[in-house]
Symmetry: C2
Subunit: 211 residues, 2 copies
DNA sequence: GGCCCGAATCTGAACGGCCAGTCAACTCGA
DNA sequence: TCGAGTTGACTGGCCGTTCAGATTCGGGCC
């Protein structure tokens, strides 16, 4: 019990720091994130951060993948609840639209994704991590499609992994635009566009457009 | 003549610096770009950089939009040469796939795009600039579609601007993946996927898949 | 032409702030 | 008593920016 609790606490401190780091990065951006900001957010001294992580760079990489893991866990938890593949797809899209769901004072995971991309361009460990995260993301989409086909909701057609890649890429591209507050693309519209294109690519009847 | 030449030279130095900055950013990344790197690349002293630009930050923003302008100029120059809309679309896609065309020792403009996104999240002037650049990009696609419809190559259907947004987002998303050297998506395959999805969304007969 | 002057261009040393990472010392629970 | 956890002052280097002066250039004047 004692040992468990101690380990537990250690891990908590780890996660606490990772979580704080992710929040700070989201708010201030990777480039403007100082160790002391993270420490302050934890209510802890700067030295302690370096006691738990060997360097700032390493911490940042871990924080980014940590945050993405959180998103993924939430996504799969929610999808598991849904009955129909169509509902799943809808929810998956909704969770992907920046700023659509204000619940949980949700950070914009997408801002972190872009930071991941920049890092991954030069940092090999981040590049590797990124590919894992990305594959998981596309696979989630493909699984929904598989499921829809097995229940007969979606017709057979293009390979599901291929569709996962296509729809995933579409969501990525649109999400960036929405995240940037592009005046021509609101969150609600992005949701609509995604559903629409997904319907056409997968081959099911689209939702009626709201008047 | 004298005055013209003088102005010309000044602008040359300006552009020279912008160009050098863009190259350095592409190679080392925005975060690792020092003023002295840019100066060295120009064969000039660091002080001079600040003589032409009021601050490092401003220079970086200008360099990024400068590079994007270059890409756009090249794109529209090339498209103007093409006869059919289909050729235009193909070329547009080819120019968008990172690393597909090695000609011109082409930098990967996409790396710069991602840096633009990160900056735009926090820097209002960059955000504004980004929206302009992005609109221009999507509009280029929409124009090709319009053209194809006016010549009868493409059928009528979904609004061309809407399609520009959809196809543009798809290209963005895929380009990021390719840029990251994702093992599951080669440049050639991205080209194929883009053509394929574009064909389905616009509604023309796809290219035959090469054996 | 040859000379001069002022402005534009350019240099590189020096300044100053910032911040990652170190470390010696302290706390406290087991 | 021991050692994991924690502190916060300190340091060492880095880099944007400034600045005082050197150099170059172009055009007016004899």
């Amino acid at each position: 019990m004692g040992r468990t609790k101690q380990k537990q606490q250690t891990r908590d401190r780890h996660q606490e720091i990772l979580d704080a780091a992710a929040r700070v990065i989201t708010e201030r951006g990777l480039a403007e994130t100082r160790i002391s900001d993270i420490a302050e957010r934890c209510g802890v001294s700067p030295g302690l951060i370096l006691y738990y992580f060997e360097s700032k760079d390493r911490l940042l990489v871990e924080a980014l993948t940590f945050a993405n893991d959180q998103f993924y866990l939430r996504l799969s938890r929610e999808l598991r609840r849904m009955r129909s593949a169509r509902q799943q797809l809808t929810r998956l899209i909704e969770l992907s639209v920046p700023g659509l769901l204000p619940e949980f004072e949700r950070l914009d995971e997408w801002a972190l994704w872009i930071e991941i991309w920049v890092l991954a361009l030069r940092d090999p460990s981040m590049a590797k991590e990124r590919e894992v995260l990305d594959r998981r993301w596309r696979q989630s989409i493909a699984e929904v499609i598989h499921r829809g086909r097995s229940t007969g909701e979606f017709p057979e057609g293009t390979d599901a992994d291929e569709l996962g890649m296509q729809i995933g890429a579409l969501i990525d591209g649109l999400a960036v635009q929405v995240l940037m507050n592009d005046t021509t693309l609101s969150p609600a519209r992005m949701r609509q566009v995604c559903m629409d294109v997904a319907a056409r690519l997968i081959g099911f009847a689209p939702e009626p457009v709201p008047a």
